[in-house]
Structure formats: C-alpha cells, structure tokens
Amino acid sequence: MQMKDAMNLTAAGAGGRTAGKAQVVGKDTGRKNGRKAAEHIMQVVFLICGLIAVGFVLLISVYLIISGIPAIREVGLVNFLFGDTWDSYNKTDPQFGILPMILTSVYGTAGAIVIGVPIGFFTAVFLSKVAPPKLAAVVRPAVSLLAGIPSVVYGLVGMIVLVPWIRTTFNLPAGDSLFAAIIVLAVMILPSIISVSETALQAVPQEYEEASLALGATELETYFRVSVPAAKSGIAAAVVLGIGRAIGEAMAILMVAGNVANMPSLFSSVRFLTTGIAIEMNYASPGSLQRNALYSIGLVLFLFIMLINVLLNVVLKREKED
C-alpha cells in the first residue's frame, strides 16, 4: 500500500513537470495535452470496467427481487415458503408451496457433504503430505479434470449407470431419486473440496510439523494433530464452498432426481430448488403466476447463496486472522 502511494506521488510529480515544460515549449503543447487527455480517459474507462462487476451484482439482485416479489405477494409468504404442495399446472386450484424443494435442497446438500467431504479431505491430506511426488503429479491433474467435466456429462453418466443400478439394487420401481442426486452431487463437489483444502494444508508452516516430529509423533499423527488443526479454517472454507456448489447445481440433478415435487425421502423422486426452476422454465409463459413463482424460487435460492457467501467470508476472515 505504501509502495503504491509512493508511486502515485512520483506519477503526479512527473505529470506536473511535463505540464510545466509544455508551457515553455509551445509547439508540443497540443500533443502533450492530447496525451494527458488520453491518460484521463483511460483512467475513467478502467474505473468503469471495475465498477461493472458491482453493477452486475446490483442488477441481478434488483431484477431478482422485482421479479420474485409479485408471486410471493399473491401466494402469501407463509404459504409460499411452508406450503407442502407444488401443483403449478392445475388450472382451477394451483398450489405454490416450495417447502418440498427447500427441504430437498437442504437434505441433498447435506447428503453430498456427508459423502463428499471425508473423501475429499483425506485425498487432500494424501496429496499435500503423504503422496510421493510422482503419484501426486498423476492425481492432481485428475482432480482438476474432474472439476472441468461439464455437469451434463455427470448427469448423463448418472442417468445411464447410477439410476438403473439403484433401481435393481434396492428393488425399486424407478431409480430416479434423492439418493442418486446425492451421489452425483458428492462426486461434483469433490474437486473443489480437495483443491481448497490442499491449498490450506500446504500453507501450514513446516516448523509446526518439524516440532511435532521432533517430539516423537509419527508422520500421520503430526499431519492429523498438528497440520489439520492449523489449516482448519481453510478446510472449513472448502466445506462451505462445497455446500455452495451443491445447492446451486441444476443440470446434473435434473437428469437423475426424477423431478416430482414430493416431500424428500431417500428413494423417492424429488425436486430441488434449482430443478424446480429448470423443469418449468421453458413451459411457463411470461407474465403468468407460474412464471413469477419460478422467479420467486430463484429469489429464495439467491438468498440461500448469499447466506453461504457471508458464511464463507466469515470463515476466510478468521483464516486471515489466524
């Protein structure tokens, strides 16, 4: 910060000097003024570029709130959030209760975290501490490839492999279920959990580990009783990030969850907040209550995500303080 200030001072000084000289050498004034104008224009252009991100966030929030409020007002906030039936196509008596979707999203995310976090956490410890460099050099690109695979591809594999497997194994009429969605989500959040926790674990000062080893702890005792506690806020950030990913995923689970707005149970067809929007988007005509209700689901989902963002920032702040 100080460096930057010093630099700005130099820049200002240099600018002042050129301006002074320009007065003496009248011939160059035009060109120099032009250059100065260009400097100013570019500064403004860059400022606008910087503000655009803020503008987009405001735009998204404002549009979501404006579009999301009407349906909530028409249905009633309590009926909307805690109504247990969603029947938007019913012409005579449509129902717009999203409790099943909220609960499905919460259960689905929790399930994905329960399965994905332990696997991801242990893989991260392996990669950052235990793995021989050559093996790590194979596993690490594998993890980043896993992160890059498009979500529809996960959905396709889930739909063709996982869903039939669930149907035959658990002897169900159909395999499209919350369980299938949980497994697909667990796989999808794995890469972000691994890479964020690995970064946190690698940032642990080596002296901590050396001290522990010198006191007679084994390598693994050191990693789990010294390194992991030292990296705990980074690992917590990884979990929060995983929650964000899981709660926001739409396309992959659209292909495996069955998409009926039931109250969630492990082996029944369910509809998440995300898939609740996705499944009806192309069929709801603009301006209808059904379409507006989809915007309201979007608003609820957005609030969930903002909540998670705040949580993430709190966790990251604590990490910085550590």
Binding site: A14, C49, I60, V157, T218, G248, I277, G298, N313
Partner: protein, 286 residues
C-alpha cells in the same frame, strides 16, 4: 522403521489412517477413470467425420452435430470478445489505479459474489434482462451476454493475479522515464502479464464450454443449422450448444449413443482446455 517401536494402539492408528488416505485417493482417481472410460466406451463408436461435419438429417437418416459445434464456437467467441476487455480493464483498475480501499473491497466482494452465483440463477436473470427486458429473445446473443457476466470473475481474478506478479521496478522504471500511467500499462505492465490473461481466457472458455443451464433458457434448443447469412439472421440465430444438445438427445429424445458421443467430445475439449491452462499457468510462474 519407526512403526515397529510404537505401542500397539499407535501402530493401529498409523495403519488405519494410512489406509483411509490411500482408499480415499484411490476412490477419487477411480471415479475419474471409470467415468472417462465408460463415456469413451459408449461414445467413441459413434464419432466419425460425418458426425462432426454434417447436421442431423431425417431424410438420409444420418446424424451430425456440426450445428452444435458452430453454436458453441459462436457463444465462446462472442462472450469472450466482450468479457475479456471488461475483465482485464477491471483487473487493471484494481491493481494499478484504485486508491480507495473501500471501493476495492466492494469490487472484489462483487466479483466473489458473481463467482458464487449458481448458473440457474444466471439463466433466470439472463431470461429476464436480455431475452425479455432488452427484447433479444431466446437467441445465441442473449446467451452469450449472460455468459459475459458469468465469466467476468474468472478473467478478473486471473488477470489480477498476474498483474500482481509484474515487478514494481518495471513500473517505476517506466514512470521514471516520464511515461504516463496508461502508457506504462500499455507498454510495460500488460506485455509482461500476457500469460496470465491468456490463462484467464482459457479458463473462461472452459466455463462457457461446460455451461448448460444458462444456454438452455436463453440461447435456444434447436439442433439444426442456423442461417448466419446476414447480420439480422446472425443476431436472431438461436440454437443448442454441445452441452445443451447432449441434454436434449439424452433426456428428450432418448438417443443415448449420440449423447455419449457428444460427451466424449466434451471430455476431449475439457482435457485440451485443462492442458492449455496448465501450460499457460506454468509459463506464468516462470
């Protein structure tokens, strides 16, 4: 060698935890291997020259995904052309110009927020803002513009990282020779951070290629070749990109062979993008 002198309980702990570590990592790698293997096994037989270079023809009974490839390229080009200058500009402002600490925090917080918003929300917002409010309809343009907002954080963050690695002495040297700030940025800072900008660009392309929800609701579902002959047609074109086409073939037409072939192509693209980003990133570190 240490393990032998340990008490039984500590030895057990050591063995159990080590097993857990290896099993978890093996699960991660096996998952990837199985997914890739299965997709290639089902997808590769359907891929041939005709599949890549023609469109689906019901008359001749042939299958081709050229339209999806063209639509994907359209969306990539259009969104990157807009997002790149905006993102690089924002990063330059943050690292070179900004004095106001609050403003920097606000911009960085906004960027993080944009990165965390799920794509289905972008789909909603894109449909409301670009398709309806700006009357662009369900077109590739509306989809590309929505993707601009989505890819912006990626480009801002990577560019910012690489701008930070440009040594301060370069800047001082340039300013000391009497150049203005913009001239310094143009001639010294940007050329030395080109690798980072390229990395950001590649990562953004990766996001566009993998995106499906946004494009499904803003860019259209047609798997047929669009008419790009005039500017008006170009603006009105709407169609499915590779990911959306995969979804349509798998979920709506139950044509799984085609879906797996598209998945194979997407996998190849993902590998290429990952390698390219890794390569550019490595150059950046040097």
């Amino acid at each position: 060698m240490h393990t032998r002198q340990l008490s039984p309980s500590r030895r057990f702990y050591d063995i159990a935890v080590r097993a857990l570590l290896y099993v978890s990592s093996a699960v991660t790698v096996l998952l990837l291997v199985c997914i890739i293997g299965y997709i290639c096994y089902r997808g590769i037989p359907g891929i041939n020259w005709e599949f890549l270079t023609t469109e689906e023809s019901l008359l001749r009974g042939t299958m081709g995904i050229l339209p999806a490839i063209v639509h994907t390229l359209y969306v990539i080009l259009f969104s990157i052309i807009i997002a790149l200058p905006l993102g690089v500009g924002a990063a330059i402002y943050l690292t070179e110009y900004a004095h106001n600490r609050r403003l920097v925090t606000a911009i960085e917080y906004a960027t993080e927020t944009l990165a965390g918003i799920p794509s289905i929300i972008y789909a909603l917002v894109g449909a409301i803002i670009f398709s309806e409010a700006l009357k662009l309809g369900t077109t590739l343009i509306a989809g590309s513009l929505t993707l601009v907002i989505m890819t912006l954080p990626t480009i801002i963050r990577t560019t910012q990282e690489s701008l930070k690695t440009v040594p301060q002495s370069y800047r001082e040297g340039s300013l000391g020779l009497g150049s203005g700030k913009w001239r310094m940025i143009r001639t010294v800072v940007l050329p030395s951070s080109v690798d980072g900008i390229v990395t950001g660009c590649i990562l953004a392309i990766g996001r566009v290629v993998g995106e499906s929800a946004v494009l499904m609701y803003t860019a259209g579902l047609s798997t047929m070749m669009q008419d790009f002959s005039s500017i008006q047609n170009f603006m009105d074109a709407s169609g499915a990109t590779l990911t959306v086409a995969l979804y349509i073939y798998a979920k709506e037409r139950a044509d799984f062979a085609v879906a797996f072939s598209i998945a194979t192509i997407l996998l190849v693209l993902t590998v290429v993008i990952n390698l390219a980003a890794g390569y550019a990133g490595k150059k950046l570190k040097r």
